[in-house]
Symmetry: C2
Subunit: 130 residues, 2 copies
Amino acid sequence: MNSTEFLAEVAWNEQGLAPAIAQDVHSGQVLMMAWMSPESLRMTAEEGFAVYWSRSRQSLWKKGEQSGNQQVVHEIQIDCDGDTILIIVEQIGGIACHTGREHCFYRSLKNDNWEIQTPVLKDPAEIYGE
Amino acid sequence: MNSTEFLAEVAWNEQGLAPAIAQDVHSGQVLMMAWMSPESLRMTAEEGFAVYWSRSRQSLWKKGEQSGNQQVVHEIQIDCDGDTILIIVEQIGGIACHTGREHCFYRSLKNDNWEIQTPVLKDPAEIYGE
Protein backbone atom coordinates (compact mmCIF):
# COMPACT_ATOMS: atom_id res chain seq x y z
CA MET A 1 0.00 0.00 0.00
CA ASN A 2 1.31 3.41 -0.95
CA SER A 3 1.42 6.40 1.27
CA THR A 4 -0.31 9.42 -0.17
CA GLU A 5 1.07 11.97 2.27
CA PHE A 6 3.03 13.57 -0.57
CA LEU A 7 -0.30 14.75 -2.02
CA ALA A 8 -0.91 16.88 1.06
CA GLU A 9 2.40 18.64 0.54
CA VAL A 10 1.26 20.07 -2.77
CA ALA A 11 -0.08 23.62 -2.52
CA TRP A 12 -3.29 23.00 -4.49
CA ASN A 13 -4.96 26.18 -5.73
CA GLU A 14 -8.42 27.45 -4.83
CA GLN A 15 -9.93 24.96 -7.32
CA GLY A 16 -7.94 22.13 -5.72
CA LEU A 17 -5.67 21.87 -8.76
CA ALA A 18 -2.02 22.42 -9.66
CA PRO A 19 -0.48 23.13 -13.07
CA ALA A 20 1.50 20.20 -14.40
CA ILE A 21 4.16 20.67 -17.07
CA ALA A 22 5.11 17.63 -19.17
CA GLN A 23 8.64 17.52 -20.56
CA ASP A 24 10.00 14.94 -22.99
CA VAL A 25 12.64 12.74 -21.35
CA HIS A 26 14.62 12.37 -24.58
CA SER A 27 14.46 15.75 -26.33
CA GLY A 28 13.84 18.00 -23.33
CA GLN A 29 11.01 19.61 -25.29
CA VAL A 30 8.24 21.02 -23.11
CA LEU A 31 5.28 19.11 -24.48
CA MET A 32 2.27 20.63 -22.77
CA MET A 33 0.85 22.14 -19.63
CA ALA A 34 -2.32 20.77 -18.09
CA TRP A 35 -3.82 20.54 -14.61
CA MET A 36 -3.73 17.86 -11.96
CA SER A 37 -6.02 17.16 -9.05
CA PRO A 38 -4.80 15.17 -6.03
CA GLU A 39 -6.47 12.07 -7.50
CA SER A 40 -4.83 12.54 -10.90
CA LEU A 41 -1.40 13.03 -9.30
CA ARG A 42 -1.94 9.92 -7.19
CA MET A 43 -2.88 7.90 -10.27
CA THR A 44 0.05 9.33 -12.24
CA ALA A 45 2.44 8.28 -9.47
CA GLU A 46 0.90 4.84 -8.97
CA GLU A 47 0.21 3.83 -12.54
CA GLY A 48 3.19 5.48 -14.23
CA PHE A 49 1.12 7.15 -16.93
CA ALA A 50 0.16 10.82 -16.92
CA VAL A 51 -3.36 11.48 -15.68
CA TYR A 52 -4.58 15.07 -15.69
CA TRP A 53 -7.74 16.84 -14.60
CA SER A 54 -9.81 18.22 -17.44
CA ARG A 55 -11.20 21.56 -16.34
CA SER A 56 -13.56 21.72 -19.32
CA ARG A 57 -14.98 18.25 -18.70
CA GLN A 58 -14.50 18.41 -14.91
CA SER A 59 -13.23 14.85 -14.87
CA LEU A 60 -10.05 12.81 -14.75
CA TRP A 61 -8.24 12.80 -18.09
CA LYS A 62 -6.12 9.76 -18.77
CA LYS A 63 -3.84 11.26 -21.39
CA GLY A 64 -3.80 9.14 -24.54
CA GLU A 65 -6.73 6.94 -23.54
CA GLN A 66 -8.47 7.74 -26.81
CA SER A 67 -5.50 8.52 -29.06
CA GLY A 68 -3.07 5.95 -27.68
CA ASN A 69 -0.57 8.77 -27.17
CA GLN A 70 0.05 8.04 -23.52
CA GLN A 71 2.84 9.58 -21.49
CA VAL A 72 5.05 7.14 -19.60
CA VAL A 73 6.23 8.89 -16.46
CA HIS A 74 9.95 8.84 -15.70
CA GLU A 75 10.00 11.41 -12.94
CA ILE A 76 7.64 13.64 -10.99
CA GLN A 77 9.05 16.87 -9.64
CA ILE A 78 7.62 19.77 -7.67
CA ASP A 79 8.77 23.35 -7.40
CA CYS A 80 9.98 25.44 -4.46
CA ASP A 81 6.50 26.75 -3.66
CA GLY A 82 4.99 23.30 -4.02
CA ASP A 83 2.34 24.62 -6.37
CA THR A 84 3.63 23.48 -9.76
CA ILE A 85 4.38 19.95 -10.93
CA LEU A 86 6.89 18.96 -13.61
CA ILE A 87 6.66 15.45 -15.05
CA ILE A 88 9.38 14.00 -17.22
CA VAL A 89 7.76 11.64 -19.69
CA GLU A 90 8.23 9.43 -22.68
CA GLN A 91 5.62 10.49 -25.19
CA ILE A 92 4.19 7.41 -26.87
CA GLY A 93 3.56 8.01 -30.57
CA GLY A 94 5.60 11.21 -30.48
CA ILE A 95 2.49 13.38 -30.46
CA ALA A 96 1.44 15.27 -27.33
CA CYS A 97 -0.82 17.91 -28.85
CA HIS A 98 -4.43 17.36 -29.90
CA THR A 99 -3.59 19.30 -33.08
CA GLY A 100 -1.41 16.36 -34.16
CA ARG A 101 1.88 18.07 -33.37
CA GLU A 102 4.79 16.85 -31.28
CA HIS A 103 4.01 19.44 -28.62
CA CYS A 104 1.56 22.24 -27.86
CA PHE A 105 3.97 25.20 -27.97
CA TYR A 106 4.08 25.41 -31.74
CA ARG A 107 3.52 29.15 -32.03
CA SER A 108 6.35 31.57 -31.49
CA LEU A 109 6.30 35.36 -31.28
CA LYS A 110 7.93 36.81 -34.40
CA ASN A 111 7.56 40.49 -35.29
CA ASP A 112 4.64 40.81 -32.88
CA ASN A 113 2.79 37.87 -34.39
CA TRP A 114 2.28 34.31 -33.18
CA GLU A 115 3.76 32.27 -36.01
CA ILE A 116 3.34 28.52 -36.38
CA GLN A 117 6.75 26.87 -36.21
CA THR A 118 5.96 23.17 -35.83
CA PRO A 119 4.39 20.87 -38.40
CA VAL A 120 1.33 18.68 -37.98
CA LEU A 121 2.56 15.08 -37.90
CA LYS A 122 -0.81 13.41 -37.99
CA ASP A 123 -4.30 14.57 -38.89
CA PRO A 124 -6.29 15.00 -35.65
CA ALA A 125 -9.28 13.34 -37.33
CA GLU A 126 -7.10 10.28 -37.76
CA ILE A 127 -5.82 10.43 -34.18
CA TYR A 128 -9.26 10.64 -32.66
CA GLY A 129 -11.02 8.50 -35.24
CA GLU A 130 -13.56 11.13 -36.17
CA MET B 1 6.12 51.42 -32.48
CA ASN B 2 5.18 47.86 -31.71
CA SER B 3 1.83 46.29 -32.28
CA THR B 4 0.36 44.67 -29.20
CA GLU B 5 -2.38 42.72 -30.95
CA PHE B 6 -0.63 39.49 -30.00
CA LEU B 7 -1.55 40.18 -26.38
CA ALA B 8 -5.24 39.97 -27.25
CA GLU B 9 -4.71 36.51 -28.71
CA VAL B 10 -3.67 35.12 -25.34
CA ALA B 11 -6.49 33.41 -23.44
CA TRP B 12 -5.92 35.18 -20.11
CA ASN B 13 -7.59 33.49 -17.16
CA GLU B 14 -10.28 34.94 -14.90
CA GLN B 15 -7.59 36.91 -13.04
CA GLY B 16 -6.25 38.27 -16.32
CA LEU B 17 -3.10 36.14 -16.07
CA ALA B 18 -1.46 33.24 -17.89
CA PRO B 19 1.07 30.71 -16.57
CA ALA B 20 4.54 31.25 -18.02
CA ILE B 21 7.11 28.46 -18.04
CA ALA B 22 10.77 29.46 -18.32
CA GLN B 23 13.14 26.96 -19.95
CA ASP B 24 16.92 27.27 -20.16
CA VAL B 25 18.07 27.79 -23.76
CA HIS B 26 21.30 25.86 -23.20
CA SER B 27 20.42 22.93 -20.91
CA GLY B 28 16.72 22.60 -21.70
CA GLN B 29 16.07 22.54 -17.95
CA VAL B 30 12.66 23.85 -16.95
CA LEU B 31 13.69 26.63 -14.59
CA MET B 32 10.44 27.87 -13.09
CA MET B 33 6.80 28.60 -13.63
CA ALA B 34 5.36 32.00 -12.81
CA TRP B 35 2.50 34.16 -14.03
CA MET B 36 2.30 36.90 -16.63
CA SER B 37 -0.18 39.70 -17.10
CA PRO B 38 -0.65 41.36 -20.51
CA GLU B 39 1.63 44.17 -19.36
CA SER B 40 4.36 41.77 -18.20
CA LEU B 41 4.22 39.85 -21.48
CA ARG B 42 4.40 43.11 -23.40
CA MET B 43 7.46 44.20 -21.42
CA THR B 44 9.05 40.75 -21.77
CA ALA B 45 8.62 40.94 -25.55
CA GLU B 46 9.77 44.53 -25.85
CA GLU B 47 12.66 44.59 -23.40
CA GLY B 48 13.95 41.06 -23.92
CA PHE B 49 14.07 40.24 -20.21
CA ALA B 50 11.48 38.14 -18.41
CA VAL B 51 8.92 40.18 -16.51
CA TYR B 52 6.29 38.29 -14.52
CA TRP B 53 3.29 39.25 -12.45
CA SER B 54 3.67 38.61 -8.75
CA ARG B 55 0.35 37.35 -7.44
CA SER B 56 1.48 37.75 -3.81
CA ARG B 57 2.62 41.34 -4.30
CA GLN B 58 0.04 42.12 -7.01
CA SER B 59 2.65 43.96 -9.04
CA LEU B 60 4.98 43.55 -11.98
CA TRP B 61 8.00 41.42 -11.12
CA LYS B 62 11.11 42.15 -13.13
CA LYS B 63 12.89 38.85 -12.59
CA GLY B 64 16.41 39.40 -11.28
CA GLU B 65 15.96 43.08 -10.55
CA GLN B 66 17.13 42.54 -6.98
CA SER B 67 19.33 39.46 -7.39
CA GLY B 68 20.84 40.31 -10.77
CA ASN B 69 19.68 36.89 -11.99
CA GLN B 70 17.78 38.19 -14.99
CA GLN B 71 16.45 36.00 -17.75
CA VAL B 72 17.41 37.04 -21.28
CA VAL B 73 14.59 36.03 -23.57
CA HIS B 74 15.46 34.04 -26.70
CA GLU B 75 11.97 32.99 -27.68
CA ILE B 76 8.37 33.40 -26.57
CA GLN B 77 5.98 30.59 -27.42
CA ILE B 78 2.32 29.95 -26.76
CA ASP B 79 0.38 26.71 -26.64
CA CYS B 80 -2.51 25.38 -28.70
CA ASP B 81 -5.16 26.77 -26.36
CA GLY B 82 -3.38 30.10 -26.15
CA ASP B 83 -3.51 30.01 -22.38
CA THR B 84 0.06 29.01 -21.47
CA ILE B 85 3.31 30.77 -22.35
CA LEU B 86 6.72 29.15 -22.71
CA ILE B 87 9.76 31.40 -22.72
CA ILE B 88 13.18 30.14 -23.71
CA VAL B 89 15.75 32.08 -21.72
CA GLU B 90 19.36 32.48 -20.83
CA GLN B 91 19.53 32.50 -17.06
CA ILE B 92 22.05 35.10 -15.95
CA GLY B 93 24.05 33.89 -12.96
CA GLY B 94 22.80 30.34 -13.44
CA ILE B 95 20.32 30.65 -10.59
CA ALA B 96 16.60 30.87 -11.27
CA CYS B 97 15.23 29.83 -7.89
CA HIS B 98 14.95 32.09 -4.85
CA THR B 99 16.35 29.18 -2.80
CA GLY B 100 19.69 29.68 -4.57
CA ARG B 101 19.30 26.67 -6.84
CA GLU B 102 19.65 26.46 -10.62
CA HIS B 103 15.92 25.86 -10.95
CA CYS B 104 12.79 25.53 -8.84
CA PHE B 105 11.97 21.88 -9.55
CA TYR B 106 14.53 20.48 -7.14
CA ARG B 107 12.26 17.99 -5.39
CA SER B 108 11.47 14.67 -6.99
CA LEU B 109 9.00 12.00 -5.92
CA LYS B 110 10.92 8.97 -4.62
CA ASN B 111 9.18 6.23 -2.65
CA ASP B 112 6.21 8.51 -2.02
CA ASN B 113 8.36 11.33 -0.67
CA TRP B 114 9.48 14.60 -2.20
CA GLU B 115 13.26 14.31 -2.07
CA ILE B 116 15.64 17.19 -2.69
CA GLN B 117 17.78 16.40 -5.73
CA THR B 118 19.46 19.70 -6.57
CA PRO B 119 22.08 21.55 -4.53
CA VAL B 120 21.97 25.13 -3.33
CA LEU B 121 24.56 27.04 -5.36
CA LYS B 122 24.38 30.29 -3.46
CA ASP B 123 23.03 31.29 -0.06
CA PRO B 124 19.75 33.18 -0.60
CA ALA B 125 20.82 35.70 2.04
CA GLU B 126 23.80 36.47 -0.18
CA ILE B 127 21.66 36.68 -3.32
CA TYR B 128 19.19 39.11 -1.80
CA GLY B 129 21.68 40.96 0.37
CA GLU B 130 19.85 40.28 3.61
